[in-house]
Structure formats: structure tokens, C-alpha cells
């Protein structure tokens, strides 16, 4: 594994696109959190907010940060798509095998990015929570309800697993990014809404929707009463989707011509 991580590091060390994308993927959710905290801490909005709780004080800050950050997990997904489809564009997926990686090791290399980027999202959101909570909240640091950040981590993992699957199946950066965005911004939501209308709460079990169900919209989410499963159901569903996506990626990589 050390060899795989070192080799992947050599691939991105001086790759400008990688660093720019990474910077954006980190800065944008942090900035969004500060922006929202700032917005809801001034003037009339502050009074309105206080009627419904204190979203930027501990412990509610964790749900707020998780929820706001979850809108930007696509940035990490696009980065993973670029890193993966690059191998196909440059045909280095072949070269890595020719040079002496097992096909399995090639998949591990991409799974390393999946995990590394998700952990980065976890760390960034945790730090953001602490800093925003201390700057805008009225309470001292508390890790009560930190589970929402863990849900967010899980949601990033599933988004990246879907992104990796799309990248491996489509092999071209442009089309893979378009399909991923279409899926994450529309298809998953629409299908979920249609299913929910016809069959009830089962519609919430789609991959990205299941993650969303774990992260109710702060302030308003708690007031909308809708029929849902217990959180562990969504938790298991998300884990199952991650496993399924990784399994299909492995199957595809182990069997097909490169």
C-alpha cells in the first residue's frame, strides 16, 4: 500500500489541476459555512433564527456544517473523476499494469484517493465546525451530535464511490463529469421524489438521497414532518451502495481489456 500511495503522490505532486481543484474543494465549503454563519448572525435573520434554535452554536453547529458542506461534495467527486479518467486518457492504466502493478493494485490506487479525499472532507468539516462554532456560537465546544459530521463523511464516500464507478465505466473526463453532475444534481432527486410520491418513504433510499435523509436541512428540516426510516436504515443503505459501487469497479477492472 505504501508503494501505491507513493506512486500516486508522484502522479499529482506537480499536477496543477489537482492542486487547484483540491484547493477549491476545501475552500468552497469552508467559505460557504462562514458565509451562512455570518448571514444568520446579523440583524433580522438573527432574531428569526433564534426562534428556531441556534444553528451555529454547539451542538447544532455539526448538523449545520454537515448540511452546508454536503452541497459541495461534488467538487471532490470531480477531482476523483479527473484523476481516474486521466489514466484512461493517457493510457497509463495500461502502462501501470505493464510496469508491474497488479490490476487490483490499480483499483487500490483509486480507492486510496476515494478514502483520502473523504477523510480530508471529514477533517475540514470538523475544523470548520469548531472554528465557526467558536466564532459565531454562544456555547463552548461540544461533540454532542458530531454524528452528523460522520453522516456527511459517509455521504462524501458514497458520492465519490459513484463518481469512481462512472469514471471507470465511461473513461472520458468530460462525459463522466457531466453524467455525474446530472445524476447528483437531478436524477437522484427526481427519481427519489417520484418514488416517494408513489411508494412512500422507500424513495429516500436512493444512494445520494439516503445521505440527505441523514442530514435534515437545519432549522426547517426538523419542522417538516415526513415519513422516514430510522437513521440506521439509511446508514446501512449508504454503506451497501459504497460496497456495490466498489465491487462493480473491481469486477470491471479485473475482467476487461485495458
Amino acid at each position: 500500500m505504501k508503494n501505491i500511495i507513493w506512486t500516486e503522490w508522484l502522479k499529482v505532486r506537480t499536477y496543477r489541476t489537482f492542486w487547484v481543484m483540491l484547493l477549491l474543494a476545501v475552500i468552497i465549503p469552508v467559505a460557504a459555512n462562514f458565509f451562512m454563519a455570518n448571514l444568520f448572525s446579523n440583524g433580522d435573520l438573527k432574531k428569526a433564527t433564534q426562534l428556531m434554535g441556534q444553528p451555529f452554536s454547539f451542538p447544532d453547529i455539526w448538523l449545520s456544517v454537515a448540511s452546508i458542506s454536503s452541497y459541495t461534495s461534488g467538487l471532490f467527486a470531480i477531482l476523483l473523476i479527473i484523476l481516474t479518467t486521466n489514466e484512461y486518457t493517457f493510457r497509463t492504466n495500461r502502462q501501470n499494469i505493464i510496469d508491474g502493478w497488479d490490476r487490483r493494485e490499480f483499483v487500490y490506487a483509486k480507492l486510496f484517493w476515494l478514502v483520502a479525499l473523504s477523510v480530508l472532507a471529514l477533517v475540514v468539516s470538523t475544523l470548520t465546525g469548531i472554528i465557526v462554532g467558536l466564532s459565531y456560537g454562544d456555547t463552548s465546544v461540544s461533540f454532542e451530535d458530531y454524528r452528523y459530521i460522520v453522516y456527511y463523511f459517509l455521504q462524501v464516500l458514497v458520492a465519490l464511490a459513484i463518481a469512481l464507478l462512472i469514471a471507470v465505466l465511461l473513461k472520458r473526463a468530460g462525459i463522466a463529469i457531466v453524467i455525474f453532475l446530472a445524476y447528483s444534481m437531478m436524477i437522484d432527486n427526481v427519481v427519489s421524489a417520484l418514488l416517494t410520491r408513489r411508494f412512500g418513504r422507500i424513495g429516500g433510499l436512493l444512494p445520494l438521497q439516503a445521505g440527505d435523509e441523514l442530514l435534515p436541512v437545519p432549522l426547517f428540516g426538523k419542522m417538516i414532518s415526513k415519513e422516514v426510516y430510522e437513521p440506521y436504515v439509511y446508514f446501512i443503505a449508504v454503506l451497501a451502495y459504497i460496497c456495490l459501487a466498489v465491487y462493480v469497479v473491481f469486477r470491471k477492472m479485473m475482467k476487461s481489456d485495458l
Binding site: 499536477y15 495500461r94 502502462q95 502493478w101 490490476r103 476487461s256
Partner: protein, 298 residues
């Protein structure tokens, strides 16, 4: 033990049978040429051996064992086109190859110098010319001084001096006892270095084995004198000579057995014809190859 042993390798792409039941062995220390026109399945075959393609049926062994990643690390392979990260320099690309091969970066300088790329080592791969890309691919092959090399069209895209250099490198490697598997449609490229050969046509193995056994190449003598008519007539009377044809400014004579040029020279002198040219020649592999593939066509 064979370096590479293939048994009944078949591969189909849709309607095209790229390889059908190809079987042969590459002995250690040989320079093994895989010959065939474009689209005959050479690259597909080497792709299967390096695990970038999956055979439909058949099996192969490298060093007597089923192929695996560890063996590939000890083989230098150039398959089809140079595959590198466009945004990285030549040097950094080789660092990646070295890392995957579990070797240190200490050999990179040497291979870049051998391939004449050292001066451009820090330029991005995408700025390289076609020939330079091919040179970098060769440098990657030489990394770590492997004992077995697989070269698929190694002179692709090179200029004449580059082709000569690459041939020189292959010659040196062959002389130092390395096993080289060389796929090419350029027959003179193969002719100059190969000890063994396998000939493919439309996915079928026509024949394989040591070059001397596989291809009957009758040696012939090219000679000329002031009067080629008289020379031709004289040669037909020479014992063992079965033809003497005037071709351009010289006479081409063929023989039942290996021709002795000294005896021929003496024979002509004794009969009053002084040779201005006397040269022992081999039928080119190209001619032999065309005859072979032509026979199988009809």
C-alpha cells in the same frame, strides 16, 4: 526453461478473430522476432502476455510460472505507443515507472542518457516530439537493466539516425545475453538481430523456431565481369550451379550447396574471365517472408 511459453492463445474482437490458437516458446537468451503485417495480432499477443488484454482461451507462462505482476516488474516492456502522464516531465514519468517496478530512481539518469533524452529530462512529456516520446518509452524499458525485454515496434516514429541508434541498443542488449521479444512489421529490422522468429498472419501462427531452420534462405552469389554474357555462360558450367541470370550490371548465380567464393573466383580466372565483383549474399528475410505469406494466401 522457456522465458515465455504460449499455449493455444485465442482472442476475438467482435467479428474479428485477432488470434487463433497461437502456441510457441521463447528460449532464454534468444532474440525472438514476432513478424507479421499490420493487424496480424502481434500487439494483441503481447498485450495478453502483459495482462492488459484478456485471452478468450489458452494460457501462457513467464519463467515457467503463470504470468503475474511481480514477473512484469522484471521485464522491460514497450507496448504499441508510449503511455505517459502528459503534464509530467520525462524524468518524473520515469520516477513513476521506477516506483511501480519497486526500484530506486538511481537508474533514471543512465537510461535517459542512453536514449538521448537527458538534455530534455525536465520538459513536459506533452512538449516532446513523436520520436522523443518513443525514446522515453525505450528509456522506461531499459530502467533497472531487465534481463527480458518486450519491444513492440520499437523504432516507430524515429528518424533514420534514431532507428540506427535503437538498433545499436538492441544489438548491444542481445550481445549481453538478454532475451528480447521483438514485434515488428519491418523485416530488415528483425533480420539484422533475430535468432528466432514467429510469423503471424491474420491471427494464425504460420511457423516459429530458429531463424535458420524456419526460413530456407538459399545463399546466392552476385558477380560481375567485363563481359557478363560470357560470365553467365561460364557460371552455368560451374559444378553445382543451377542458375546464372543477368540482373542489371551483375550476374546472380544460385547453387545446390553452400557456394565457395574462392573456388568460384579461381574457376573464372582459369577460364579467362577476371571478376570485378564477387559477393556472397543471402536471400533477404523480406523476400522469404513474402513468399511464405503469399503461399499461405493462395
Amino acid at each position: 526453461m522457456s522465458i515465455l511459453s504460449l499455449q493455444g492463445i485465442s482472442k476475438r474482437y467482435g467479428a474479428v478473430q485477432a488470434l487463433s490458437g497461437v502456441t510457441f516458446d521463447v528460449p532464454p537468451g534468444s532474440v525472438f522476432g514476432i513478424l507479421g503485417p499490420n493487424g496480424s495480432g502481434k500487439t494483441t499477443l503481447l498485450g495478453i502476455v502483459t495482462d492488459v488484454l484478456k485471452a478468450d482461451s489458452g494460457s501462457f507462462q513467464l519463467f515457467g510460472k503463470p504470468g503475474n505482476a511481480m514477473q512484469r516488474r522484471s521485464i522491460g516492456t514497450l507496448l504499441e505507443t508510449p503511455n505517459f502522464y502528459h503534464y509530467l516531465s520525462g524524468w518524473k514519468n520515469l520516477e513513476i515507472s521506477a516506483s511501480i517496478k519497486r526500484r530506486g530512481a538511481d537508474d533514471i539518469e543512465r537510461v535517459l542518457k542512453v536514449c538521448g533524452l537527458y538534455a530534455r529530462r525536465d520538459a513536459a512529456f506533452k512538449t516532446y516530439s513523436l520520436g522523443m516520446k518513443q525514446r522515453l518509452a525505450l528509456a522506461a524499458v531499459l530502467l533497472g537493466d531487465p534481463d527480458v525485454l518486450i519491444l513492440d515496434e520499437p523504432t516507430n516514429g524515429l528518424d533514420p539516425s534514431g532507428i540506427a541508434e535503437v538498433r545499436g541498443i538492441i544489438h548491444d542488449l542481445a550481445r549481453s545475453g538478454k532475451t528480447i521479444i521483438l514485434a515488428s512489421h519491418l523485416l530488415d529490422e528483425v533480420e539484422k538481430v533475430c535468432t528466432h522468429v514467429a510469423i503471424l498472419q491474420r491471427g494464425q501462427l504460420l511457423l516459429s523456431g530458429a531463424v535458420t531452420e524456419v526460413i530456407q534462405r538459399n545463399d546466392f552469389v552476385e558477380l560481375s565481369a567485363a563481359d557478363n554474357q560470357a560470365l553467365s555462360a561460364l557460371m552455368l558450367r560451374y559444378p553445382g550451379c543451377n542458375s546464372a541470370v543477368i540482373s542489371g550490371s551483375s550476374v546472380i548465380a544460385t547453387f545446390d550447396s553452400y557456394p565457395d567464393t574462392a573456388a568460384i573466383n579461381g574457376w573464372c580466372a582459369n577460364n579467362g574471365i577476371w571478376l570485378s565483383q564477387l559477393q556472397l549474399r543471402k536471400k533477404s528475410l523480406e523476400k522469404a517472408f513474402l513468399e511464405l505469406t503469399h503461399t499461405s494466401n493462395s
